[in-house]
Symmetry: C3
Subunit: 347 residues, 3 copies
């Protein structure tokens, strides 16, 4: 595959970075400090890797002023080398190119509105009254259900399912296997049914509204609301296999790591960070800028910004078994402690 | 989209509720107490929301006798307002309408038996000897594998995969991305292989049997049995991203919240409630009417109905770290406590 | 469906087992000790089930020398009856048969190379420069993205998505809903964006390399690397709904149970066993032969082989609540204990 080479001077100018070294050097890719070659760009953002700088073979390194003296090759100085790298690296990304238009194998309802600049891939299905905006990319096997809206420049990579009444903002990126707008899990227990009662399903009449610049990971599920909508504000970033139940509201710029789950009607603030496989119970509220560490379970609302955790530390199994067995009687142990204290005070 | 309006008197009669107010009022939808308008129906089932009753603009409210005096609008009195609401709300649900027949893009094996009243959607694949019952709905991109049976009136919303030897009862609802009948995870470690041994796969020769009125959530996975079948009895309700391993047996009317997981050959009773992201280890048995709270891990069989939990509470991270560090030596702490008690008794 | 019957003598010879009993008996299937009939083979590998041997109706039982005297029917004696059973049982597995060639509904890019012996199923999409090896089976609805390679004899059961730059070795088995090669979750926080900062996405320029004889479960997700590749060595076995983040490296012969998750750049050794819903934080290293029990969270690197755990035991909820409440002040309790000890020593 042909790659395009960019002169260093052009990269420096385009991304407003200060160049030290030969501006005519051509750069055609990126790599780690250890792995990059003479035509590649690397970066140093974590001081832990500073030792690798001296021996790098990279053609240029993005770094902070403080590391400039130690750089054996050309350098691009940035205040925040990591975000500078993130921006430049996109230059070298090869996104699937697809011509505008509808693939002959795709099936588009006559009532759907598809922008002429959108690309609808093989085996896609676009149902009644759906709206596909300008420059949208639908990869193979996507389903855009009835009454769904896909905002301009959004990308559904492949095999994404928007069930019904889902609205995506602009530049939303959805990864394969994601299901958005499926029925919320709403049940009423009817004692008059079956032998000792049974379940009745509550129809899920709401939708899902997703803001601009959101990212939804592979095999993530977002249910639609029971009456009102499930909402993700702008710039929410969800990793893979996340579960968002009906009527959840996620504030702007919040990010969740893989396998996190939020139960029904919970309200997460802005700029929150939810760790991997962390959970939030239903109907709770989390303030802005709350961080939940991995695998923690949030069982009460959180009113103040900060970092919160649950769980116990990993140990060698034999030692852990002893401690875990003691936990089963922790209340008794503390009562025994209190009794000793009381005795002592009475001596 | 056109919605149909129902006179209040007709709703009262059909659902056997006592009407207070003008029976000629037309109702065309449902909403929350706060959100519903004059042509919409709302409900009050949780006393927490009783304060919203006075200011509701809803056309009618389903409520218990005890709240009737406080209702500013028409009322439908029910013993259990929530189940009454669940039943009435289905009147206003707009399910995708699909004509009977096979979409031209679907691929149906000649040995498959498809009821003439079934609707087989775009890009569906129905394999050898599959049986599709009356009034079944298969949304786009479904796969009904060889030897599978889909009972009458079942709905596979979209992109559902039944791999092989899966039997669904009547009125089963399966959401997108669900995979039923995939291989169980059965491995034998063969010390004679590779450098220090390797894995041999056990063929998974069983199937999956799912009863009537079950619901299977988005991206949920249910493996088929190794020799016998994996079984869900009637009216089992599974939320999204649940994992049911091979040879699991789930009793009737049991419900599981999102991301729960049950390991191989476990046997769950009837009327159980398994919380979100809870887990059950393999080969265990749970009695009827067992409730497991969210994120708990069941490590031994449970013989008595009741509520069971594991885990530790969420705390601000700094305080949690101190407590968690102490847990690593909990056994030592309790031994020290015992030593103090012994000393005291010897005094 | 027609099944083929095998004389016992032929099975004994083919799998190098010692036969006791009538070699002309015909065997056409397998079953449990309790369930197998006279034309079926069963096995006894777990002594817990030895009591079932006396009453089995199986035509033949694979067992260890020590159980031969108690066997009421023909026997095949094996050193390791479980692996012997695993091998023989494959004889009775009915895998979907598919003729070589491309199904007329599949869409294959002209630049893709597809072996003439491969079978490409209905609605599959094979993109630019993909390579499909000899005897590969792609079930319905699979996507093999640009620049992906599927090694000889691999089976993608159905609805598998290989996004881009994914390479599968030989005999790799991938179950429905698996997504391999999706974008890693790489974000940089840019304080200059939006009101108080926002996220920039880092392009994910690496791929995924999967060795020979690996198995990937249903709805499992494996992200591609940011710069280097995500790697699974040979004979790695992943159950359903596992999440492997970008740049993870998993050593050969390691197995993970359902819903396990490994965060970015973690390095797992060879012959490890990761329990169900266990998690490994990012950038950690696990030595060879490390076992992590179910639902444990690995928060630090592990240098020595062995078994490791975290969590607390399941209890009846009322008792658990008391203990959990005490955990919130565990550090205080231990300080009180130390104070008592100090007092005693000063007496």
């Amino acid at each position: 595959m042909k790659t395009i080479a960019h002169p260093l001077s052009a990269l420096a100018e385009r991304f407003k970075l200060t160049l030290h070294g030969d501006g005519s050097r051509l750069i055609d890719g990126v790599g780690t400090l250890n792995g990059a070659g003479p035509s590649q760009l690397s970066f140093l953002s974590n001081s832990k890797y500073a030792a690798q700088l001296a021996s790098t073979r990279a053609g240029v390194v993005i770094l902070g002023e403080e590391h400039l003296a130690d750089c054996p090759t050309a350098a691009l100085v940035a205040k925040d080398p990591y975000t500078a790298y993130a921006r430049i690296a996109t230059v070298f990304e090869r996104l699937p190119q697809a011509p505008p238009g509808v693939h002959p194998s795709a099936i588009v309802a006559s009532s759907a509105k598809v922008s002429p600049s959108a690309s609808i891939g093989p085996c896609c299905v676009v149902e009644e009254n759906a709206v596909i905006g300008d420059d949208v990319f639908l990869g193979p096997h996507c389903l855009v259900g009835a009454d769904c809206v896909v905002g301009a420049q959004s990308r559904l990579v492949a095999r994404v399912t928007l069930v019904t009444r889902v609205s995506l903002g602009m530049r939303v990126l959805v990864h394969p296997g994601a299901v958005i707008g499926s029925d919320g899990f709403g049940l009423a227990f009817d004692r008059s049914l079956a032998d000792h009662g049974g379940w009745i399903k509550l129809p899920q009449l709401g939708g899902v509204r997703i803001g601009d610049d959101c990212e939804i990971g592979a095999n993530t599920t977002i249910d639609r609301g029971a009456l009102d909508d499930t909402v993700l504000e702008d710039d929410v970033r969800l990793d893979n296999q996340i579960q968002i139940a009906h009527n959840v509201h996620v504030g702007a710029h919040t990010a969740m790591a893989g396998c996190a789950a939020v139960a029904g009607s919970a309200r997460i603030g802005r700029y929150c960070m939810i760790g991997g496989n962390a959970g939030v119970l239903g109907h709770l509220e989390l303030a802005d800028r709350v961080t939940i560490t991995a695998k923690s379970l949030v069982t009460h609302s959180i009113r103040e910004a900060g970092e919160y955790s649950s769980g116990v530390p990993l140990q060698e199994n034999r030692q852990w078994r002893k401690n875990a067995a003691r936990f089963k009687h922790l209340d008794d142990h503390v009562r025994r402690l209190s009794a000793l204290e009381k005795d002592k005070n009475h001596e």
